[in-house]
């Protein structure tokens, strides 16, 4: 096979490269092109669709195109955030794959100057109850996330996990990071200033991750494990030093530009910096500190060794930069210069071994028009039947004990959710995590330490949530994707937060296949429409395609991460019942029409995954979320919890389990149906009355049993037992 095909380039792409180069590329140049024009770096099947997403918003500070997006969170602060996939490496080696996924997304945050404060994860595996491989992947991916996040000292505050057969061969590991920065300190990645010096700092460069972007991230994963050497190895201690070193360099205003090294290593970082700055770069590969001495120039250029950054520095500041690196015990090496050539030139000693046009590399990767076609038969086999009962109490216990709905405590207890001392709502306390912001009234600066001041001033905070239900997107790609946005927004509403910006990670199968192209294009249309209706800008994200193998594609899985703000963290909502005697009400949109389509109950019953999902009236839901948010912010409610998987019955059960309090509820029309547009709230009667007609009183908190008239009467202790053991009992 010819070299370019081995590297994942088509004949058409190779011919285009020859045309742009004006000659045949050499080995180094071909390696660089193959990575920059890979799906992972070049977005060649997704760019036209991504351009349809809304990127404008009143609070937007930094949109797509930089290492991470950012929104204004008030008082001169911005919140930077992004979600990214590390699916294929995690399928090959789950511990390191997940760990380096966390490491990579954290570097994106501090590359723009922000201090990372939180991590969230979205994970998908095969049926954990049936598959030893899925249990192995889950346990090791969770351990890897914990290892990296805990060791670097950044709180893992939330996430979600689903188990479905289509993820058996292609697990998903998406990591989201959130950081804070003073808005006027945000740094961009454009190289500038001809004659400025390019400094590489961080870990040494080795052979790990050679070609990961093209080989792992941009093609279907074979069953064989031959690809293990392309998985990177993470070192959170090295990254902790790199983080502190980077932030000190920025704090001392020593850098012109900063960029992290991710997929395709020095190649993509330097090419992107040069392209954005409309300059050229000369790089000297022999100056790069190596782990192995006999590395070929192309290996040095494309190595994906972790924990490295690239910066541009004015010549007379280089010594100062290297001194800061030395203080943090981080390697720092000047490896090149900024030129006016618009070319990325690679030197091996005095020899020019690669001479590449920057614009062609970064901006002229060909894009392909998808050819979507709606499938005429179901793409996915029906899940195995797990229950055979019509008794609502038994169904409720089965749902609470199912792997998808059971408590995630066995997982989230392996994460430090508290470091930073800003976590106001921890996992399972509320529908979204709530994190205190520095209080400028208190003189808090991110870069200095101000003693806290106890007073009665409001405590501004942000809330974060991540969500995406692949089975529902599989059933109805457009409405399923709309629901991902709605679910995150509903989660934020329940703690009292208003959405400011959204990041997404689009996990799909092979887009060259028409039915995958159809899922992909319909899902992006849904995301875009939901974001436009809610006025939420998409600040950036990531695409992971080719998640399929011999057994078929994954469920189409657009994962949405949402950041919002709340004026006073002291009034953050909780999901658990608080007081016996409180009124229980359902607050629902007129358009709320829960159904059994693609629900958790339909899955337990072994029903085929098919739509349509209930239609959401986006305008009405925006108003509903605002009403919930206002009620929570007023502090009048005791609890707020959105109706999601498992329907009203599971929502009530969760509020009961986390409080130990039961409730007596009247007759309900629908127990387990799913569809966006409803919340369960509790509080004193007058707090409920304030909602007006949208709220319907359904019962009262109290006792130690959850009673739903004519359907369910189960002690809370039994609910808790099913919920607690459902996942934990499957793990070691």
């Amino acid at each position: 096979m010819s070299k370019h095909r081995e590297l994942g380039l088509t004949d058409f792409e190779y011919d285009l490269i020859v045309e742009k180069m004006g000659r045949e590329p050499n080995e180094v140049e071909l390696a660089v092109f193959s990575l920059m024009w890979s799906e992972h770096c070049g977005y060649k099947h997704s760019r036209p669709l991504l351009k349809t997403l809304p990127v404008e918003g009143p609070r937007l500070v930094m949109g797509p195109g930089e290492n991470a997006g950012a929104v204004d969170v008030g008082n001169g602060l911005s919140c930077a955030f992004k979600v990214e996939s590390h699916n294929h490496p995690s399928a090959v080696e789950p511990f390191q794959g997940a760990a380096t996924g966390v490491g990579g997304i954290l570097r994106d945050i501090f590359a723009i100057g922000a201090r990372p404060i939180a991590i969230l994860d979205s994970l998908r595996f095969g049926e954990v109850a049936d598959s030893a491989r899925s249990r192995y992947l889950l346990e090791h991916a969770v351990a890897g996330i914990g290892h990296y996040g805990n060791s670097i000292g950044i709180a893992t505050v939330g996430g979600e996990i689903y188990f479905e057969e289509p993820y058996e061969q292609n697990c998903l590991v998406n990591a989201m990071a959130v950081g804070l920065i003073e808005t006027d300190e945000l740094i961009k990645s454009a190289a500038a200033g001809v004659g400025n010096v390019v400094v590489l700092f961080g870990a040494r460069t080795g052979r790990d991750g050679i070609g990961g972007a093209s080989v792992l991230a941009s093609a279907e994963l074979d069953a064989d494990m031959e690809k293990r050497p392309t998985v990177q190895i993470g070192d959170p201690f090295e990254e902790k030093k790199l983080l502190e070193c980077s932030l000190e360099l920025l704090d001392r205003k020593l850098l012109v530009a900063l960029q992290d090294l991710g997929a395709a290593g020095i190649t993509s970082s330097s090419a992107e910096m040069a392209a954005k700055g409309e300059v050229g770069l000369d790089l000297h590969v022999r100056r790069v500190p190596l782990r192995e001495q006999d590395m070929h120039p192309f290996e040095i250029m494309i190595s994906e060794s972790q924990e490295r950054m690239l910066c541009v520095v004015e010549p007379d500041r280089v010594d100062e930069v290297l001194a800061v690196c030395a203080k943090w015990e981080v390697n720092g090496t000047a490896i090149g210069e900024v030129t006016d050539t618009r070319r990325l030139r690679v030197f091996d000693g005095d020899e020019l071994v690669g001479d590449l046009p920057v614009t062609a590399l970064v901006d002229e990767c060909p894009t392909y028009t998808l050819e979507p076609a709606e499938p005429t038969t179901p793409l996915y086999p029906a899940p195995p039947k797990r229950i055979d009962t019509e008794d609502p109490g038994e169904i409720l216990l089965a749902l609470l004990g199912s792997a998808n709905l059971a408590s995630r405590k066995a997982v989230f207890e392996q994460y430090d959710s508290l470091v930073g001392s800003r976590t106001v709502r921890r996992p399972e306390q509320a529908d979204a995590a709530v994190l205190l912001l520095p209080d400028p009234a208190n003189g808090d600066r991110l870069t200095s330490l101000a003693p806290p001041r106890d007073d009665d001033a409001p405590k501004p905070a942000i809330a974060v949530s991540i969500d995406g239900n692949g089975r529902r997107v599989a059933a109805d790609p457009y409405r399923g994707a709309v629901e991902a946005v709605l679910e995150c927004s509903a989660n934020l509403a329940c703690v009292g937060a208003e959405p400011l910006g959204l990041t997404n990670c689009l996990n799909f199968g092979n887009p060259e296949k028409p039915h995958i192209a159809w899922q992909f294009s319909r899902a992006i249309a849904g995301l875009g429409d939901a974001c436009r209706a809610f006025g939420i800008p998409v600040v950036g994200g990531n695409v992971s395609l080719y998640n399929e193998g011999a057994s078929g594609p994954i469920y189409p899985t657009p994962v949405v991460g949402l950041v919002g703000e709340l004026p006073d963290a002291r009034k953050s909502g909780r999901l658990a019942f608080q007081h016996a005697g409180d009124v229980v009400a359902i607050v629902a949109a007129d358009s709320w029409a829960p159904s059994n389509a693609a629900s958790e109950l339909s899955k337990l019953r072994g029903e085929v995954v098919e739509g349509p999902l209930p239609q959401a009236d986006l305008g009405e839901l925006k108003a509903l979320h605002a009403a919930i948010r206002q009620a929570v912010r007023s502090g009048s409610l005791s609890s707020a919890h959105d109706v999601a998987e498992g329907g009203v019955a599971v929502t009530l059960a969760e509020s009961a389990i986390h409080s130990g309090l039961g409730a007596t509820i009247g007759r309900l029309e629908d127990l387990f149906g799913e569809g966006p547009g409803a919340f369960i709230v509790t509080g004193p009667a007058d707090a409920i009355t304030a909602f007006g007609a949208a709220a319907k009183v359904i019962g009262e908190v109290g006792g130690d049993t959850l009673i739903i008239e004519g359907a369910i009467s189960v002690p809370v202790a039994d609910l808790e037992r099913a919920f607690t053991g459902g996942l934990a009992d499957l793990l070691h």
Binding site: H147, G153, F237, Y415, D416, L418, V424, A450, P451
Partner: protein, 220 residues
């Protein structure tokens, strides 16, 4: 009262410890490579993963230039608190008895735990009373306190067991439910749970503040 908070490469909780101490006094960060305590009245060795936990938890940090000063300071009766990794470092340095072993689960666990005050007369617990319950989070992989039975008997006889996990809260398997110990003089205390994360009811509990307030009340 001025607290100094040590920062090693890989320390994670120094800012939290600094802010907690700032609620009851002044605070300053002490850099691991500087053998200088900057005239502080109390030293906090905070949590984290100093030197990446390489070799063995706390084993490398114990040789940092600042630690020689901390040892001198402790020997002279200076107040020293080790939290989590800091506790591990103080045990490695021989400032506290015993050692921390991997949790029986072998897993990192982050959980709010109840602690029972056993000795309320140390420099770091004098604002509490014996029998008080403190709700403080713990988060670690290597927090199983261990010492020989003879040593444990001696610690108990000397009042050096300062804090115990309440019934049902000893998730790491520590011997005799020990969560925190002191040296014989009571000026050096170490514990696995994180009082610096428990200084504000908004983030879960303010019980941890009592440890910092205790030290602040000790005449400088």
């Amino acid at each position: 009262m001025k607290f100094g908070v040590v920062r090693f490469p890989g320390t994670c909780d120094e800012v939290d410890a600094y802010l907690a101490a700032s609620r009851v006094g002044d605070a300053e960060i002490l850099w691991h490579a500087d053998p200088d305590l900057k005239g502080v009245d109390a030293v906090i060795v905070p949590g984290g993963f100093s030197y990446g936990d390489h070799l063995r938890v706390g084993a490398i940090a114990r040789f940092a230039p600042v630690m020689a000063e901390v040892e001198r300071f402790a020997a002279g009766g200076g107040l020293v608190l080790g939290i989590c990794n800091g506790f591990q470092v103080l045990c490695e340095a021989g400032l506290l008895p015993g050692a921390l072993l991997p949790n029986t689960s072998l897993k990192f666990t982050c959980r709010q735990v109840d602690l029972e005050v056993v000795n309320a007369s140390t420099s770091w617990t004098n604002a509490t009373a014996v029998g008080d319950t403190l709700s403080i989070p713990a988060k670690h992989t290597t927090g199983r306190y261990y010492a020989s039975d003879a040593t444990l008997d001696e610690l108990e006889a000397n009042g050096q067991v300062v804090l115990r996990y309440a019934a049902g809260h000893n998730f790491n398997g520590s011997v005799r439910d020990i969560a925190g110990v002191s040296n014989k003089a009571g000026n050096v205390v170490g514990l696995m749970p994180h009082p610096e994360h428990a200084v504000d009811p908004l983030t879960g509990s303010a019980d941890g503040l009592k440890l910092f307030a205790s030290a602040a009340a000790v005449p400088a």
